[in-house]
Amino acid sequence: MTPRQIKAGASHAALIALVVVIAFPVFYALIVSTLTFRQAYIYPPRLYPGTELWNNVVDAWNRINMGRLFFVTSVISVGAAVVKIVLSLMAAFAYTHFRFRGRALLFPMTMITQMLPLPVRILPTYELMADFHWVNSYSGLMFPFFASTTGILLFRQFFLTVPRDMPDAARVDGAGPLRYFWDILVPVSRTNIAALFVIEFIFMWSQYLWPLIVTNTADMRVVQIGLKMLIATDQISPAWNVIMAGTIVSMLPPLAVLIAFRKSFAEGIAMQTAK
């Protein structure tokens, strides 16, 4: 073996070890989700699967009405991601293609958005939702999240790399700015749009604190709160097998989105890091 092969072999060994270590907690959770209640409490802990996966999933699904939780969470995750993408595209288009008074606002705007995460305004935001009669509604769940620094910066960065003669050519062909935006700029931004979709979908799917505050009936709860309900409804000994079945099911949609768009996601991140 050449030194180079030895080095590659060592790298592979190290990487595989890392993959295994990082995956272990989820592997263990997966095992537990296939056991019966009593098997989950066996000592020493059992590390090979049982046969109860389907029963546990059904049990978890019915206990917290997961169908409804999935529906609500999907609506707000897709909704917020789409709205954020559209707003960011529009703002970035304005900032890169037009001269107007107040254009220098971009910088303060991004600063403000970064410095005002929900917790520094949480009580008044809740009061605002109450004034709007948005408590327990999709609007209440989504609206406070619609500002996106990440999106505006990502698209601005990308629009600046689009060749200068493209808008000129469009103008010569008689296309107005909106036509150019919709027919040319948006389609060539699809990699960035997909990357931002992944980021915002996962971000919204993971929300816990805000949905906990702004909703108060079972039919408007989200998946993350469902996990808490699954754990809290139990007696002294948690039914780990059912809890883990629910946990595993709850992480499938964001995982699927990440895997489906992984190429665009990685490229989008690379573009953002390049600066």
Binding site: P45, P117, R121, I122, R164, Y208
Partner: protein, 301 residues
């Protein structure tokens, strides 16, 4: 580097740019700036028990906060927690990304197999780690008992251990995100810099610290900021699922205390003051981060 185009691409549309930024600006003003200013205002008032009357109390809420042992304990827990997430998380992620950043077969597989924790929510991470560390029956206490000859580890009664376990769980969940960004940052470093250092006879260790690490600093600074925000706020679900701030107040980090003060104890004054304190900390971090990013951009030119 940046070709900021100063010319008008579509002349004759004076109103259009305003219409395009209007929705973003409206959202920021209505849902961010306005509520925040109200937070500031409410931090100078105290509300009577039934919420019927507000009384101006000046700096009393802040005074109350800074002299309260609860708040100090919470601040210390938050700082320890955030320091762990930022330092341990970023070191491990950078090491992994560095290892991954070479020509190897199976790149695609390794990438997805190392970044998928990004898709997990903090609450999911909390549930899984609570299972792993379940006293008496969990996998980790079992291994610890085996190795130590019978030590019974129980993070539900041991405050420092609880803080360590929630920190580790939170760090684990962020590995995927950090690795993606570090890997992208590493791949953007021109190879000739690293090769030049090699030719000059620098070993891999020297090359990393003298070339790679400094050139990576915009990514590192960005990730420090993101991880800080994460450790300060986004871990709420993880704490709520794992410990609810306990045992005692060992894991009662600021966001959890803020939630309880605001929505369980209905202490509007204290909660608003806490919001403002957090705002100051975040602003300082944001400004430092932007300074760094800008300075680096100029240097790169």
């Amino acid at each position: 580097m940046e070709n900021v185009v100063e010319e008008e691409k579509f002349p004759g549309h004076p109103l259009l740019p305003y219409l395009l930024i209007l929705p973003s600006v409206a959202v920021i003003v209505v849902f961010l700036v306005f509520p925040f200013l109200q937070s500031v205002q409410e931090s100078f008032f105290a509300t009577t028990a039934f919420g019927t009357k507000s009384v101006f109390v000046g700096l009393r809420n802040y005074e109350r906060l800074f002299t309260s042992p609860d708040f100090r304990a919470s601040a210390v827990a938050t700082l320890l927690f955030a320091a762990f997430v930022m330092l341990v998380g970023l070191s491990v992620s950078l090491a992994v990304a560095h290892l991954l950043n070479q020509k190897l077969r199976g790149q695609g597989f390794y990438q997805i197999a190392l970044i998928w924790t990004y898709a997990l929510s903090p609450a999911v991470a909390g549930a899984i780690w609570a299972l792993m560390f379940a006293p008496a029956t969990g996998f980790v206490p079992y291994v610890v008992a085996k190795l130590s000859g019978g030590y019974l580890m129980n993070w539900m009664t041991n405050g420092s251990l609880a803080l360590l376990v929630v920190s580790a769980a939170a760090t684990w969940k962020m590995l995927g995100y950090n690795i993606v960004f570090f890997l992208a940052g590493l791949q953007n470093i021109p190879e000739e810099f690293v090769d030049a250092a090699r030719v000059d006879g620098a070993g891999p260790w020297r090359t990393f610290w003298d070339i790679t690490f400094p050139m990576l600093s915009p990514t590192t600074t960005f990730l420090l900021f993101v991880n800080m925000i994460y450790a300060f706020f986004q871990v709420f679900g993880l704490i709520d699922i794992m410990t609810q701030g306990g045992p005692g107040d060992a894991t009662n980090i600021l966001i959890y205390k803020l939630y309880r003060d605001a929505f369980l104890y209905l202490d509007t004054g204290a909660a608003s003051a806490e919001s403002c304190v957090v705002f100051v900390v975040i602003s300082v971090a944001a400004i430092i981060q932007l300074r760094f990013a800008t300075r680096k951009a100029i240097y790169a030119r």
